[in-house]
Symmetry: C2
Subunit: 201 residues, 2 copies
């Protein structure tokens, strides 16, 4: 089965395509992927039922596209906030803040990304694999320049992704009692990344 | 609606109850919560269809119980590996290793815990809130004894949970190319927690 989507070339087509994406995002967030039908999406988008299949061969192909877009968006947003002339530690700080700000503005993102674990585990794997690879690429020059500890960068990438993802969840889901002001959160993370958590023995 | 479950008091009852729990764990992992019916669970458990309702008023009540058990199990397992006479940094190391070993032995745990985000978000919040509170309780004496940096312990708890959860995922889902040997992973995490990631400016 050809699961490739058709990217529209006309302005009207693009408008409809984007309406379908926005509507599916809202539906997946509200009812989950399995609970959402194609009819739910077209209804929410306010377009004719058949329109969906002009662009997407299936609900799965749309979900994959959404996940790719989200991944691309997040990376673009982070990259736009990072000044490459800075030292890596300061780039990291800007990147962590950009990720958290993106998460606050797009609170549905976790549910959509993590639902891949239930839809098709390989999508979840591909998503974080790709994210880790970008991280490793960014960290490599810093490691070579001895701006950071001589550690396995893949493990480091997962440490950093774990910190930012859980902190984003804490902020979005309003977990815990502290107000989770973004400045305090970023400063605390940076303290750990600069000095560690435990005092020297 | 009374959603309380009935804990059996006889040996036969307990056997059936545990068969239902084990079967539901397997079903939720394979087909997800929404994709699993009560009939799937009783069939997998090899018990009569009506048996389910002797103990659980609903599939949701069983899921809640499973989540509570998992939470209790993980904490008990970690606690059993921690020697309270050690300094906190060494307790942390033992705890991180215990968590990762538990995750390796119970690879279905993430899917079951994270699916709460789709079943009832408040369950997800309660799960991580409770886990964070335990962490904070454990870290408080270390902070008071200046064995660790003077940081907001709630933020620190999410940093640590993020690191261990993402590392567990990396290992279970076989993400990335490094072999993710548990020793190397624990040592790398501990390096960051002791000395930070970036070298002093």
């Amino acid at each position: 089965m050809d699961e490739s989507i058709k990217i529209p070339t006309t302005r009207n087509g693009t408008t409809t395509f984007n309406l379908l994406l926005k509507a599916s995002e809202a539906c997946f967030f509200e009812k989950g992927y399995h609970g959402t039908t194609v009819a739910d999406i077209t209804q929410k988008a306010g377009v004719a039922a058949g329109t969906f299949y002009l662009y997407f061969p299936s609900k799965m192909s749309l979900y994959r596209h959404l996940l790719n877009e989200l991944s691309h968006d997040i990376r673009k947003e982070i990259a736009s906030k990072i000044d490459p002339s800075l030292k890596r530690v300061d780039q990291e700080k800007a990147g962590i803040r950009a990720f958290l700000e993106y998460a606050i503005k797009n609170p549905h993102m976790y549910q959509i990304i993590w639902e891949s674990l239930y839809i098709d585990r390989s999508l979840f794997q591909a998503y974080y694999d790709a994210f880790a690879k970008r991280y490793i690429k960014g960290l490599t020059p810093a490691k070579e320049a001895h701006e950071m500890a001589n550690l396995d960068l893949e493990i480091v990438a997962y440490i950093l992704m774990g910190i930012t993802n859980f902190m984003g969840l804490k902020i979005i889901l309003d977990l815990g009692e502290s107000e989770s002001k973004i400045d305090a959160v970023v400063d605390t993370i940076m303290h750990v990344l600069k000095h560690g958590l435990f005092t020297a023995e």
